[in-house]
């Protein structure tokens, strides 16, 4: 198995900017596929799909391998993980903010009481 160099995130995000390429990746999350299988759902020629695959490969998001005359594609775990890490960290930063906001809100004076029925039987 070939060891991959860390892909450039710029390339990865540029590659992800295209809806067809996102759809290809989405298909590949279900497992390896041949170029022909990938081309099938799109009204695109194989050469057109191959161009997209080349971009994805260059971005480090997929790996291609030849088996006889067939070319197989699969997700490149390393590249996908790098993109996912960026998103996870954005998510984590926002979550940190909103968890803090929870505390700010809890410390704010309550609004004027409304007619809320409370069961205070104890």
């Amino acid at each position: 198995m070939k060891r991959l160099r860390p892909p450039s995130l710029d390339h990865a995000f540029a590659a992800l900017a295209d809806p067809t390429r996102r759809a290809i990746l989405s298909r590949l999350t279900r497992g390896e596929a041949t170029v022909m299988q990938l081309a099938q759902p799109f009204s695109m020629t194989q050469p057109a799909i191959s161009r997209h695959l080349k971009v994805l490969e260059h971005a480090g998001l997929i790996v291609r391998r030849a088996e006889g005359t067939k070319r197989h594609c699969r997700l490149a775990q390393h590249g996908i993980a790098a993109v996912d890490q960026w998103l996870s960290t954005l998510r984590a930063a926002l979550e940190t903010n909103y968890n803090r906001l929870d505390q700010v809100l809890a410390a704010m004076p309550a609004e004027p009481p409304k007619h809320i029925e409370r069961n205070k039987q104890r």
């Binding site: 900017a17 999350t29 993980a81 890490q85 960290t89 930063a93 809100l105 609004e111």
Partner: protein
């Protein structure tokens, strides 16, 4: 326990939703009043916002400056476009890192939800490349990879 979602929509949008256990009026105030903003909109632990300008009226200025107290910092400027008290804020913002990022158009709504508020923040970037760059901004720590999460965020 997080109730936040972060998803992409189309080529240019990012959608964030979060439930808060407080009425819309309070969540709305926490988004526009400087003394409240400065308590929570801070990013990673250890950062503070020594400068917070928020003039909540159409055309009013926004300026947030963050520092880690060790010499690192960045700032954001923006303008309010529309405000509907307690339910909706529309503003535009850009980060200076130090070069300005393209304008991010943000609509934030606050809707009553059970005993609290559902906040929905919808960001619109000028193009897909900018959104991709924005999603990559300011993030450095990794977490475990998940194809499922990738599919529901990046690929949705």
């Amino acid at each position: 326990m997080s109730k936040m979602t972060l998803t992409t929509e189309g080529d240019r949008h990012v959608l964030v939703t979060r439930h808060f256990a407080a009425p819309p009026a309070a969540v709305y105030r926490a988004h526009i009043e400087p003394e409240l903003i400065q308590q929570w909109m801070l990013g990673p632990d250890g950062w503070t916002m020594p400068v917070c300008v928020s003039d909540p009226r159409p055309g009013g200025a926004i300026r947030f400056e963050w520092t880690d107290g060790k010499g690192a910092g960045f700032y954001l400027t923006g303008e309010y476009l529309e405000l509907q008290p307690h339910s909706r804020i529309v503003h535009v913002e850009r980060m200076f890192l130090p070069d300005p990022t393209p304008d991010n158009h943000v609509e934030t709504t606050f809707a009553p939800n059970g005993n609290g508020t559902l906040m929905t923040m919808r960001m619109t970037l000028p193009d897909s490349q900018t959104r991709a760059a924005m999603l990559a901004t300011g993030m450095e720590h990794g977490m475990e990879a998940s194809y499922v999460r990738l599919e529901t965020t990046v690929l949705a």
